[in-house]
Structure formats: structure tokens, C-alpha cells
């Protein structure tokens, strides 16, 4: 039962990996460097998307969690000679432990208080790195030598492959998690804590788990970023990064694992594009340095007004509209998806469920293998009651 989505996710991930392989083969080294960065940010955004979009917790401290992963990885790279994979996993493990430590008290908090605690994390952790500068290298940070590429392979392409592989594995794991009992528990807690508790879900434990998963992703993302830049430094993880991550996640679509790619592309390319635009308009340095932030804010406002479910939601809707001009079947579905009320962010997932069940009803009406449908519906119901 659980095997089927796993197989599908794996097949799709392999297809994506093949696509990325072709992409990285035609790109220049610098573009590969940036594709690698995009993959790293996608990992962080995926974790945040699970935390905020699926579990309903807000974190303003993910930049700091990335820093923890980055520093752990940097220290391991400097002081040990382990396998790269082991070092990455160790960095993830350390960040997860911190995630649990932060998650346990945070599970008792909600809304602005949770944001406050995580904000404190973002402000406090970099100071720690400065305080113990003999370990963490102070302002200068740690410099690492990235692993050498095998054979005559371009180093940027090699690093991009590692980063893309890590991102795809993470997303497959998250996609499976979200389709499991835990994923349903995440959503149930987000939608109504009391109802979730009545259904037998341990609310606190679920929240801590979501935070730990999300911290693990942030830690991995931090380590992956170090891989491309070769340095770990507090300047790499400022407070604004935590906020940018949140904005990137919302831009792509909260709770959407595809949306993270949009967000990551925006995080990597937007500063560059706005700087070159400012340069070609010969605006002053003061303008060009902050133009990215302004443009990012504007895009966010427009996206929230036009497509509250993010760019991915907008894309899904557009795709649905295109399909509906060709076929009649998904029309009602997509229409429903678009006409979500303004407060639908919270309800989006549950509505999706409704749509999905409606979809299955429709297909039942079309009398296509009705028997198996019924038995699967039963399975679904039992799963839901389990949750």
C-alpha cells in the first residue's frame, strides 16, 4: 500500500535527475554553480514548506538552522577526513538535534510567539560564532576545500550533481512523508489542534517532529551551500536570509514541494537580475544594492494578490484552464481550486482533499473499474480514521 507512491516518487525523481543531467551537461560552469545553489535553497525551502505550509508553524530562524548545518559541515570538513556523504549526514544529524531542542519548547507556542522564539535563534546563533572565534573562525569563518571532481569532470558540474542529488532525495523523502500517517497528522494539527487531539494525534509530538524534519532540511541546505562557496561565515546567514526563505516559500506556494523550485530560482537569480538592471539603468550603488529586496517584496505582493497559493498554484490553475479547453473533465476541479476564499491558505490542503474525492467520484460515475475504486476508497477511509 505504501509501496506504490514510493515507486512513483522514485521513478519521477529519476526522470528529474535525467533532466538535470542533460541540463547540467549543456550549461556553462557558472550556470551549473548557480543550479547547484538553487538545489541547495530548494532543500531549505522544502523543509520550510513542510513546516509552514503543511504543519502551520512559522519559523523566522531557518537561516540560523542553515548556519548550524553549514558550520557543522565546515568543522567536519576541516577536522576530519570522512566520506562526503557521512559528513553531510552528520551535519544534518546535528541540525536535527538542535531542531528537536528548539522544537520541544516551541511546540507549546503558536503564531507570533513561535516566530519570536525562532527569530531569537536567527539573531543569537551568529553571535555565538563570533564569541567562540577560535572554533568558528570569527568574522572570517571557516574555509573548506570542496571535494575534487573525479577525472576531468568540471568541478562546478560535479558539485551541482551532488547538490541536485541531495535535493531530489530530500524531496522524495518528504513527498513520501507527507503521504504517510505523519503527513496526515501534520495537516490535521495545522487545521485544528483540538480536533486532531480528539482523533488521537499527539499534537506536541507532531509539531516537534515537523520542526525536526524541517531543521534537518535546513541543515542539509546549509551544508550544500558551503559545498559551492567553499566558506562558512556568519555573513552568509544573516537575519534577512530567514525572511527571504519565508518569502521564497510563500512565493512558490506554501506546502507545495514543486513550488520550492520557483522560490529557489527567485532567491538565486533575483538579486543578480536586479543588480544588472540597476546597472544598465545606471542607478546608484545605494539603489542597486537594495533593489533586489524591493523587487522581491513587490513580486510577493503581486503573487499574494493574484495567486495566494503561490506561483505553483497559479501554474496549476493555468494548466488546468488549458486542459479544460481541450477536455471537459478537470474543468470543475480547476474552477474549484481557483475560487478558494481569501482565508483558504489554511484550508487549502483540506479543500484539495475534497477536490480529490470529488474527482474520484466523477471517475466512479464514468464507471471505470468501479470495483477497485470502491475498495480503495475504503482503504482511504480507514487510513483517515487511523490518523
Amino acid at each position: 500500500m505504501a509501496g506504490q507512491p514510493l515507486v512513483r516518487h522514485l521513478v519521477l525523481a529519476l526522470a528529474a535527475a535525467a533532466g538535470f543531467y542533460l541540463l547540467t551537461s549543456v550549461l556553462s560552469p557558472y550556470d551549473n554553480f548557480q543550479v547547484g545553489e538553487i538545489a541547495a535553497y530548494a532543500v531549505a525551502l522544502a523543509g520550510l514548506s513542510v513546516l509552514t505550509g503543511v504543519n502551520g508553524q512559522i519559523s523566522l530562524g531557518h537561516g540560523a538552522l542553515m548556519a548550524v548545518g553549514a558550520y557543522s559541515f565546515g568543522l567536519l570538513m576541516t577536522h576530519t577526513q570522512l566520506n562526503l556523504m557521512v559528513e553531510l549526514l552528520a551535519a544534518v544529524g546535528l541540525t536535527t538535534v538542535l531542531g528537536i531542542a528548539v522544537g520541544i519548547p516551541s511546540a507549546r507556542l503558536a503564531g507570533p510567539y513561535l516566530a519570536g522564539v525562532t527569530l531569537m535563534l536567527a539573531l543569537g546563533l551568529p553571535l555565538l560564532a563570533d564569541q567562540y572565534s577560535s572554533t568558528f573562525g570569527g568574522d572570517q569563518g571557516l574555509t573548506i576545500t570542496p571535494p575534487a571532481a573525479p577525472g576531468s569532470l568540471d568541478p562546478e558540474r560535479w558539485l551541482a550533481w551532488i547538490q541536485i542529488a541531495a535535493a531530489l532525495v530530500t524531496i522524495v523523502l518528504l513527498a513520501n512523508l507527507l503521504r504517510s500517517r505523519f503527513g496526515r497528522a501534520f495537516r490535521a494539527v495545522r487545521d485544528d489542534e483540538v480536533a486532531a487531539e480528539l482523533a488521537g494525534i499527539h499534537v506536541g509530538r507532531t509539531k516537534v517532529l515537523a520542526f525536526a524534519v524541517s531543521a534537518a532540511c535546513a541543515g542539509l541546505a546549509g551544508a550544500l551551500l558551503v559545498l559551492s562557496t567553499g566558506i562558512v561565515n556568519t555573513g552568509e546567514f544573516p537575519l534577512s536570509l530567514s525572511i527571504d526563505l519565508l518569502a521564497g516559500m510563500v512565493l512558490g506556494g506554501a506546502g507545495s514541494l514543486m513550488g520550492v523550485w520557483w522560490g529557489a530560482v527567485a532567491l538565486v537569480y533575483l538579486p543578480q537580475w536586479s543588480t544588472s538592471v540597476a546597472g544598465s539603468l545606471s542607478l546608484g550603488n545605494g539603489v542597486s544594492a537594495y533593489l533586489a529586496t524591493v523587487v522581491f517584496g513587490l513580486i510577493l505582493i503581486v503573487v499574494m494578490l493574484v495567486a495566494p497559493s503561490g506561483l505553483q498554484g497559479l501554474l496549476r490553475w493555468t494548466g488546468g484552464r488549458l486542459l479544460s479547453t481541450l477536455r471537459w473533465v478537470p474543468a470543475s476541479v480547476t474552477a474549484l481550486e481557483v475560487r478558494q476564499p481569501a482565508n483558504q491558505e489554511k484550508d487549502q490542503e483540506s479543500q484539495e482533499k475534497d477536490q480529490e474525492s470529488q474527482e474520484s467520484q466523477e471517475s466512479q460515475e464514468s464507471q471505470e473499474s468501479q470495483e477497485s475504486q470502491e475498495s480503495q476508497d475504503k482503504q482511504d477511509r480507514t487510513e483517515r480514521s487511523e490518523a
Binding site: P5, R8, H9, L12, A15, A16, G19, L23, V26, L27, S28, P29, Y30, D31, F33, V35, E37, I38, P126, L127, D130, S133, G138, D139, Q140, G141, T143, T145, E156, L168, I171, R179, T229, G230, I231, N233, T234, G235, E236, F237, S256, L257, M258, W261, V265, G286, S288, A289, Q312, L315, G319, E352, Q355, E356, E359, S360, S363, Q376, Q379, D380
Partner: protein, 461 residues
């Protein structure tokens, strides 16, 4: 199960679209065609790049250096370039943030295919890319920092330019030991290799018993007055405060000190003591803090009597031919920079550094390669004519530029500087020119004299 299929299908579209998105994004950027071997140089052009702070905490003053360098390159290009090659200089804003430096340097190397990284600024920023540039065999030339790390056999492609901070610390420390014997000394330094190297040099000369307080700050988090550090120095009774601070930090230390009536003898690294840079910062911080225009103007007096280190002629020595040449160059080839900054410590620095690079290109000859350029600097570097008070020290084993200079004091008795920002203060030499090494070597008097600008430069500039 249909329900799940719906979910998975959308997720599948997701991954498939992921690759499409990336493809669409990057197709817009043309792939670089130049080979990695000797990119950035053609028969008619040389492309070089740098990362410098144009905005952010280190930008005041330092943002002038790269445009001043560009003035020299424009002058060279207007006269046919070097061996027929025109110099194309790309400088990007890293905001003094090593993480940005790491990304932008890769952009310069991989996308813009620079021949060499020339005149990039900062210790934390440039150590972040030293390994990368050396691995890629891209010369990292004339780094705008006095870190001891630039002359390291592990990194043959890196060359410093200004005196190592340890040398400044040693020469200033020896001066304090001699002229402020028995006084309590405190340190205020930037907590990275810049500050630590300076303190290391001062510690070599000063008796340990005379140091009563060691205060530091972080450049990355420098946003307000260094009031705690200054209060600690005052509480420890430091009569002399030796500072390794960037210009903004110098101002952010002096203002709270004045506010609590603390008037030590400041002895500041050349990095943070240029009056035309620090003076306006003192005034603007005072105005931002709610001070009146008169109060803001009066703060410039805080600089009077400050002792610092100079390795090039002070820019208010208008009779010096280098100062005259630099002024003419900036007036003609960087008019907007001239009207905003004039000739101050930063623009003078930029002109001198760029002129050093031009001579390196000349020495490398017609058949320009990276290896040839490095060899020319190592063998001919000491013969380059520059405004420096001592010749450049380059050799195959030494990758430091100047290894000496003189102790000077800011005073209002010297001829006034002539910058548009209205700098009123000049520097008076207190000692003769001295040289030393960043190691344990002694400090020695220098008798060689400084070089004169070549007649071609005097005539055409």
C-alpha cells in the same frame, strides 16, 4: 486510490516542470565560450575584475578605490593601452560580505572570464576566495588588505600590496613604546586577521605590562557606537588607544569616547585614519544621532593629534609630483569621482595600485600569460615606480608589497588638504621612513628615497 494518483500526478508535473523552469531561466544567459586556460586576454583587450564594497558598512571611503583605479585604466586606454591591449575593469559590489565575495568571484571567473582578479578589497572577503582563485590559477593581485596571509607559498597566485598590518603594528608600537613610555595602552581592533595581525605587531614591540585592555568588534555586526568597548578602555585607564579599525569604526569609537569625556592619544592603523574619509563620517554620524550642524562640524576636531602610519605621501602635500599627477588623472578621467571625493587617501590608493598593475602588464611583455605576469611581478616588482615611500618588496618568495612607511600625526599646521569634502587637516611626519618585516626582524631606518613619476605620466596625465 484515484485521490492519491491526483496528488502524485501533480507532484510528478512538479518535478518535470522543475527541470523546465531551470532550463528556461538559464537559456537566457549565453554560455561562455572562452577556454579556461588563458581567458580574458585578446590581442586588443585584457579583462580584469574585482569585488569591492560599494555599499554596506565598509563602503564609506573604500567605494572610491575601484573607480579611481578605473581612471588610471581609462588614461592608459586613451593612450593605446598596454602593448596594444585596452584594459577592461569589472568591479562588483560584495558589500564586504565574504559569502557574496565567494559568489561574485565565481561570476567573474566563470562567467566574465577575467584574466586576473586585481584590487579586490578586504581581509575576510579575500581569504574566502584565496583557495578558489589559486585552484583555478587566476592571479589574485594587489589585494587591498595587509593580511600576512597573502605571502604564503601555498598560494603562489596571491599578491598583497599595502604594508602588512603586523608591520604597521610593529612600527606604531615601537613609536608608542619610545614616546609614551610608562603609559597604559589599550587596544581596539576588528576581530579578524586585520585587527589580530595589527595587535600581533604592536605586541612584539610593547611591554606586556603596559597593555591594560583589549577590546574588539565584529565588522559584520558593526551598526552602532562602540560605546561598551570605549567605556572599558576608559575604565582600564588607557592613556593611549591603539586602533585597528575601518573608517566607520574609528568614527563610531571616537564619538562615544568624546561623549563620556574620554580623550586618549589615538594611534590608528592607516586603514581607519584617513581624515577626508573619517572626518565626514564623524559629522554624518553626529547628525544622524540628532546633533546640530555646528556639533557635527566640530567633531572633525577629534582627529587633531591622531597618530597614524603612512606608506605614501600624504595627499595634502601638493608639492609632491605624485600628488600632482594623481590629481590631474582624477580630474580628467574620473570627473564625477573628483567632484565628490577629490584626492583623499582612498583615491590616491586606487591610482597608485592601478599604476602598479599597469607596470606589471608592461613588464610581462607582449606575449601576455598568467605565468608570465606573475614572473614579471616577482622579478621586476621592486623596480616599479610608485608613490610608495619605500619600493615594493616583491620577489619569488615575498608576496607583500610595501614593507615600510613612516609615523605621522594629523595636525592643522600642515598645509590643508584640497578635497571637495572640505578636509582641513593634514599629516606631519613624526619619524623618518622605516622598514621591517612582518616577522621578528628589527625595524630599520630607510635611506633609499622614493621614486619620481616617469616623465610620460607627468606629461600626458
Amino acid at each position: 486510490m484515484r485521490a492519491r494518483q491526483g496528488g502524485v500526478r501533480s507532484w510528478g508535473r512538479a518535478l518535470a516542470a522543475a527541470a523546465t523552469v531551470l532550463a528556461a531561466v538559464v537559456v537566457a544567459v549565453p554560455a561562455t565560450s572562452a577556454s579556461a586556460a588563458e581567458s580574458g586576454v585578446t590581442a586588443h583587450s585584457i579583462t580584469i575584475g574585482a569585488t569591492v564594497p560599494l555599499t554596506g558598512p565598509a563602503a564609506p571611503g573604500y567605494s572610491e578605490i575601484a573607480p579611481a583605479m578605473n581612471a588610471v585604466f581609462d588614461w592608459v586606454n586613451a593612450h593605446g593601452g598596454v602593448h596594444g591591449r585596452k584594459i577592461h575593469y569589472l568591479y562588483l559590489d560584495d558589500q564586504y560580505n565574504p559569502a557574496k565575495t565567494a559568489t561574485l568571484t565565481r561570476q567573474l571567473v566563470l562567467q566574465d572570464s577575467i584574466f586576473a582578479d586585481v584590487g579586490s578589497l578586504g581581509t575576510p572577503t579575500q581569504t574566502a576566495v584565496q583557495g578558489y582563485l589559486n585552484a583555478e590559477k587566476i592571479p589574485q593581485l594587489f589585494i587591498e588588505s595587509g593580511c600576512n596571509c597573502w605571502s604564503d607559498p601555498k598560494y603562489p597566485y596571491s599578491f598583497g600590496w599595502q604594508p602588512p598590518y603586523t608591520i604597521e603594528g610593529k612600527i606604531l608600537g615601537a613609536y608608542v613604546k619610545q614616546h609614551f613610555a610608562g603609559e597604559k595602552v589599550g587596544f581596539l581592533y576588528q576581530d579578524d586577521e586585520f585587527g589580530q595581525d595589527f595587535v600581533k605587531g604592536a605586541d612584539m614591540e610593547l611591554p606586556a605590562s603596559s597593555i591594560v585592555s583589549r577590546q574588539s568588534y565584529d565588522a559584520a555586526t558593526l551598526s552602532g557606537p562602540l560605546a561598551n568597548q570605549v567605556a572599558a578602555l576608559k575604565a582600564a585607564g588607557a592613556k593611549v588607544v591603539m586602533m585597528a579599525t575601518i573608517p566607520a569604526a574609528t568614527a563610531l569609537a571616537m564619538l562615544p569616547a568624546a561623549a563620556i569625556g574620554y580623550q586618549p592619544q589615538y594611534v590608528v592603523s592607516s586603514v581607519g585614519a584617513d581624515p577626508p574619509t573619517v572626518g565626514p563620517l564623524l559629522a554624518s554620524f553626529t547628525a544622524k544621532g540628532g546633533g546640530s550642524a555646528a556639533e557635527a562640524k566640530a567633531t572633525a576636531a577629534l582627529l587633531k593629534g591622531l597618530i597614524t602610519f603612512a606608506y605614501a605621501p600624504p595627499e595634502n602635500q601638493t608639492a609632491n609630483p605624485w600628488v600632482q599627477v594623481s590629481r590631474k588623472l582624477l580630474q580628467k578621467y574620473a570627473p564625477s569621482l573628483w567632484s565628490s571625493a577629490g584626492l583623499d587617501g582612498n583615491t590616491e590608493y586606487g591610482v597608485a595600485l592601478a599604476y602598479t598593475f599597469v607596470q606589471a602588464l608592461q613588464a610581462a611583455g607582449k606575449n601576455l600569460t598568467r605565468a608570465g605576469l606573475l614572473k614579471a611581478i616577482a622579478t621586476d616588482g621592486h623596480k616599479f615606480v610608485t608613490p610608495g615611500l619605500v619600493p615594493l618588496s616583491y620577489s619569488s618568495s615575498v608576496h607583500f608589497g610595501y614593507e615600510g612607511g613612516e609615523v605621522v600625526q594629523l595636525s592643522s599646521s600642515a598645509p590643508p588638504a584640497v578635497t571637495p569634502t572640505g578636509s582641513w587637516i593634514g599629516a606631519t611626519p613624526l619619524t623618518g621612513v622605516e622598514t621591517t618585516s612582518p616577522g621578528a626582524g628589527p625595524i630599520e631606518k630607510y635611506h633609499g628615497g622614493s621614486s619620481k613619476p616617469p616623465s610620460a605620466l607627468l606629461r600626458t596625465a
